[in-house]
């Protein structure tokens, strides 16, 4: 009897864990800082959740509900899960209730699935058995499969950008729960059937596996956090590179202007003293000034520096450029984000053009209107680009520019779209000023 209670408690902890994970797929949990601020509320929350948890699991031991058992079971389940949702997650109540309902459906579906598997393998109905190891073996097998489903769902919805599209990541996450589930299907038949005495041993095994899974989960979370930090560091390195480029450009620009001014002074002085050949010299001076002025795309000096920098690079690679820029002096975006976004986009375009044997062209539109910034780049390509990736050799840089564009677009609630035709590639994106 005692062991039943303990197993029931473990089972219920699993339930709580699964549902919390399930909630976290669709709702945002309250932050650690929130609990620090509302310590009293936190204590009440924990007390209520634990109370609900104990009532749910202890009451059936002392009270018999008879045919109402299923109803009482469902009600306590909903109450327990709702108290978790209510205290620990932000969101609308209707969403929370819907999620609880869905989680109940998931439990039913997977219980049935496990029942089918065991029935077809061994011809035994675990769930109907009065022996502990059979009954709880089935339940745990089902629970760990539910855990796999919730994990996969969570990775799909909340995975950091760095891990997207890596299958190893998913495999790593589900391998331990999967083995556990398999174990609980097989264990009762092969081990417990031989020696029908030891429920205590079964409980030990259950605890052991629960701990293994817990440790695996924690290690995995830490790994994911590290991965995320690592990825952010990459961003910082790239941002730093962009900034350095920008400052260098600025410095050369300054030097050039200083040189022009110096020359201008001297040449004007000579012009005063001698009168012959004045016109040609004035023309020469004008030419120089105009050359420096050519790179005036916008009043916004940060963006202008960036664009003229890229413009020079494009020119060096014999690329025809056509920039249409309409932006105000100041915008509500962080300059470093804009630098990375526009810089990366143009870099990609230049890179693609460089692989073209002839016909190299880049058309750029950068337009600000009503809190939205629109960027459109068209560039010629050598062959059709099927996947939006760079062809850089260095692994470090591989596809990184694109991911950074994607991340910044998401940060500003924007959207990006690309289109590739036989001989050109087009990227268009919009980002919104934070209000």
């Amino acid at each position: 009897m005692n062991l039943t209670v303990l197993l029931e408690l473990v089972k219920s902890i699993n339930d709580v864990f699964i549902v919390s994970m399930f909630f976290s797929c669709y709702l945002t949990s309250r932050s650690f800082r929130y609990w620090k601020k509302h310590a009293g509320r936190g204590a009440v929350a924990i007390f209520i959740v634990i109370a609900a948890y104990l009532i749910r699991n202890i009451s059936p031991v002392y009270l018999t509900f008879g045919s109402f058992y299923m109803l009482v079971n469902s009600i306590t389940y909903v109450c327990l899960m709702y108290s978790i949702g209510y205290f620990f997650f932000k969101g609308r109540n209707i969403t929370k209730l819907l999620l609880i309902f869905l989680s109940m459906m998931i439990v039913l579906v997977f219980d049935f699935l496990v029942y089918l598997i065991i029935q077809s393998l061994f011809g035994i109905n675990y769930f109907d058995s009065s022996q502990l190891s059979y009954a709880y073996g089935g339940i745990f097998a089902s629970q760990f499969i539910q855990l796999i489903v919730v994990f996969l769902l969570r990775s799909k919805r909340k995975a950091p950008l760095a891990a997207q599209g890596k299958y190893g990541f998913y495999l790593l996450q589900v391998i331990v729960p999967f083995m556990t589930s398999l174990f609980f299907i097989i264990y009762p038949v092969f081990v417990e059937q031989e020696t029908q005495d030891s429920d205590a041993r079964f409980f030990m095994v259950v605890t052991l596996f629960a701990v293994i899974n817990l440790v695996h989960f924690i290690v995995f979370e830490i790994h994911q956090k590290l991965e995320k930090e690592n990825y952010e560091n990459l961003f910082l390195v790239q941002e730093f590179a962009h900034r350095e480029e920008y400052y260098q450009q600025m410095e050369t620009h300054q030097t050039k202007i200083r040189a022009i001014r110096h020359d201008l002074k001297n040449q004007l002085l000579t012009l005063i003293t001698k009168a012959d050949g004045t016109e040609s010299q004035i023309e020469k001076l004008l030419e120089e000034v105009i050359k420096e002025e050519e790179c005036q795309f916008t009043q916004n000096s940060g963006i202008n520096q960036l664009l003229s920098n890229k413009y020079q690079r494009a020119k060096e690679s014999n690329i025809q450029t056509n920039f249409e820029v309409k932006i105000p002096l100041e915008m509500g975006f962080e300059m470093r984000d804009l630098g990375a976004l526009i810089g990366n986009a143009i870099d990609n375009a230049i890179e693609a053009c460089q692989r073209c044997p002839q016909e190299r062209q880049i058309n750029l539109k950068l337009i600000y209107f009503n809190h939205m910034l629109l960027l459109e780049i068209e560039n010629s390509v050598a062959k059709q680009v099927s996947e939006f990736k760079t062809q850089k050799k260095k692994a470090f840089e591989h596809g990184f520019g694109v991911k950074s564009i994607q991340a910044i677009t998401e940060k500003y609630h924007g959207d990006m779209l690309y289109e590739s035709k036989a001989d050109f590639f087009r990227l268009e994106l919009s980002i919104w000023e934070p209000n």
Partner: protein, 240 residues
């Protein structure tokens, strides 16, 4: 179409008048204009609410209240009016995008260019002058699409929210509305909301905020289409 001309140089006003008259030669009843010799007098006129204009031609370099300042004052009252700046300093122009400028003309004024700009303005305005008709209790109502802030569908009814706060409820479907309204101006962002992009203020995480302050959710299904539509809208508004 009502046009305001604001310039502190009477000669310039005369020149623009001539150009306008020749542009509307074929249908002189279609338009009227008023001239103002300073930004202040125009702002003053607007604050007295005697009449409003759809197109403003503003000189940038006016004494005291300059063209940009005047434009900002106009924008406070009217987000939709078309503002055309006239300037002799093209390098000052980027600032105009803060106030959603429509276009600018460079002095000395080129007749062909003016006609292009006006044609474009008329096109934009006629898009907003398109009408929608519906019946409530056997009575036919008509609204200008340019006045509609957004459409909302509720069960079997459609609710039209106008920018002045008025609402009309009639029996109809979303599909009918989408077929009737121009996709250049309207876009669906939710299975029961279609908004006029003229009145969009800014986009947040999962909502857009209208100029009236009302927030409407953008659902995942329509998110990409909305962004695409809005980009096209911006390109249309800023095209030269």
């Amino acid at each position: 179409m009502d046009i305001a001309i604001c310039d502190d140089d009477p000669k310039m006003i005369g020149q623009i008048e001539t150009l306008l008259l020749s542009f509307f030669e074929n249908d002189p009843n279609q338009f009227s204009y008023e001239a103002f010799l300073s930004g202040e007098s125009l702002v003053d006129h607007l604050s007295r609410k005697e009449s409003s204009f759809q197109i403003y031609l503003l000189d940038v370099e006016m004494k005291s209240l300059d063209g940009f300042e005047t434009a900002r004052m106009i924008r406070k009252q009217d987000q939709q009016a078309i503002i055309i700046f006239i300037t002799s300093h093209v390098e000052w122009m980027p600032e105009a995008f803060e106030v959603n400028a429509f276009h600018y003309l460079i002095k000395p004024i080129d007749e062909i260019k003016v006609k292009q700009v006006l044609l474009k303005a008329v096109e934009q305005l006629s898009l907003r002058k398109m009408i929608l008709q519906f019946t409530i209790k056997k009575k036919v109502y008509t609204v200008y699409l340019g006045e509609v802030e957004y459409f909302e569908s509720m069960k079997r009814k459609m609710i039209i929210h106008l920018k002045n706060g008025e609402e009309y409820e009639y029996y109809g479907t979303m599909k009918e509305v989408i077929d009737k309204v121009s996709s250049q101006l309207f876009t669906q962002i939710h299975h029961s909301f279609v908004v006029n992009m003229d009145y969009v203020q800014v986009k947040g995480g999962e909502t857009i905020v209208m100029q009236t302050g009302r927030e409407i959710a953008v659902t995942k299904k329509f998110h990409q289409a909305f962004q695409k539509a809005y980009r096209n809208y911006v390109l249309m508004r800023t095209k030269e």
